[in-house]
Homo-oligomer: 321 residues x 2
């Protein structure tokens, strides 16, 4: 992740004085990621990640994210356990930012997605959905159907700077989804990760060993979370839809938590909604790049392609024969 | 650890159905240890230890041990995090035993103790003492001064089977300690590990990375916990007292939590008490070996030697010049 906030060694040592993590040994900036400032730190107690929350994360949401990852980790979901200081507090202030220390997870994202990876991701997502059934805090999804309208309004006037028909694509798609999006009670809801892209899943060799980055987690349709994964895991080179990957992702999910008939029926719509959501946020970032930005803005047109694919192909057509 | 209770793969799979740990991949008996039955298990979520509690662990103490290790792990003490099932329960029943699954810790015990190991153990012990200051559950130490009398009564008649003067040694030592043992309020108390021997500390290369086996943990004098470590870490080949190791252990402890004047004054007595405690339990086990036992009984005379050393040497004499 791009480090926006530089933390000095003495500042970190002062923070660590409030913890029982022992002596600071090493600290190193982590360059991947786009949302927050992250440091890999080692102390005489082990390896940890220090995160400073930059402006995209709302301070009032942090207790939800921290409690959620703790809840999931205590049930064995391989996600980063937040570490409490001597007083029992997870959230800290450092360099004018909200900050937290979580346990380091081994592993790294995969560069070559195979159906085996997809199967494991599907299984892990279902286990996360089951493990959080008794999690009692709630957070609304600001980036669900009701939030897309705001983004379309902010982007439509300049959308054609990215592609000549893009304004028409997003306005027509929004209208379609607003008309057909399921009511809250129509599908099973729960806590969703909402951003389980390949860069948020770690593997150790061939084995899934970590889910990270829960900073979009919220309450929404569980099957929408699955649709986000289909969008992000099931296209080869982000272009060609892979039926094998889709079947593996679905098989993995359903081995732990079968989709209901209604969820299956809604899936084509949810796939389009997930595609639009990432198209809109990427378009918004692309249109609003600050001059000289250090962060590489992701290509919004990747999700235009995915959206068009899901418009044109029914669920029957995307499942392997 | 010696596996007393054999768990079949189907039995373990059935237990895992209640968890969100994914599919069982491998299970393997762990042969080290003497108290409980342990299995190393891997699931699609990672590596874990399954423990079945054998008769030495009282069921009513298990909630204390589980809550304590969770509390410490959440503060970054490198100890095994207990994993909750889907209902949030850590304690289970398996094969007629109480059982629990905890997260696997990397590392292994050291075969060659150096002052650097001792320094890290001292530091980790102090951090454990600090991290549990706000832990609210309590457990009395059944193996403190008041418990030794019971063991002496059970052993003294046959103690000379182990060494010809042993009955006189233990009865005279008990009398001395009973007379001089500090009142509860005389020294700082807290949660102690009470058994932080070299086989309960893991290292990864040169670095301490795990404290395990909290099944003697209880409330008692913090400096008594330190005295247990001196007994178990500071004798070369379990015979020659190492002043360098002692200084390193003390230095590590005091870098996090300086001993008070009163704790320092009491240390010679606490060292003798810790030596007697392990002499008595080992003697008891040695005298009561069941025929054909699979567990190797530890040598009680090792702690007779240590006790005599601490009788004959003051604190000034055991600190390196």
């Amino acid at each position: 992740m791009a480090v926006y906030t530089k933390v000095s060694r003495p500042e970190l040592e002062k923070l660590l004085n409030g913890y029982e993590l022992g002596r600071l040994q090493t600290m190193e900036e982590i360059l991947q990621g786009v949302e927050n400032s992250n440091y890999h730190i080692t102390t005489s107690s082990g390896r940890y990640i220090l995160t400073l929350y930059e402006k995209r994360v709302k301070p009032e949401d942090l207790p939800f994210f921290m409690a959620l990852t703790k809840h999931a980790a205590l049930k064995g979901i391989p996600c980063p356990l937040p570490i409490a200081d001597r007083k029992g507090e997870v959230l800290q202030k450092l360099c004018g930012r909200d900050a937290a220390i979580v346990r380091f997870l081994e592993g790294s994202m995969t560069e070559n997605i195979t159906p085996s990876h997809c199967r494991q991701v599907g299984e892990a997502l279902a286990r996360f959905h089951r493990a959080t059934e008794d999690f009692t805090m709630r957070r609304a999804n600001a980036l669900s159907c009701s939030g897309w309208e705001r983004l379309v309004l902010a982007c439509e006037a300049r959308a054609n700077e990215a592609a000549e028909d893009l304004s028409a694509v997003i306005t027509s798609e929004l209208a379609y989804l607003q008309k057909h999006w399921p009511d809250a009670a129509a599908l099973p809801q729960g806590v969703i990760h909402a951003d389980l892209f390949p860069d948020n899943v770690f593997f150790n060799g061939a084995q899934l060993c970590g889910l990270i980055d829960f900073y979009f987690s919220c309450n929404d349709f569980l099957a929408y979370d699955f649709a986000v994964c289909v969008n992000s895991w099931c296209f080869e080179d982000e272009k060609e839809f892979s039926h094998d990957r889709f079947d593996a992702l679905l098989g993995g999910y359903e081995s732990m938590k079968p989709l209901s008939e209604k969820e299956r029926e809604a899936l084509p719509l949810l796939l389009r909604g997930a595609a639009l959501r990432f198209l809109l946020t990427r378009l918004h970032d692309w249109l609003n790049q600050p001059p000289g930005a250090i962060v590489k803005v992701k290509d919004p047109l990747e999700y235009r392609r995915k959206l068009i694919f899901f418009r044109e192909n029914s669920l029957q057509r995307i499942q392997a024969a």
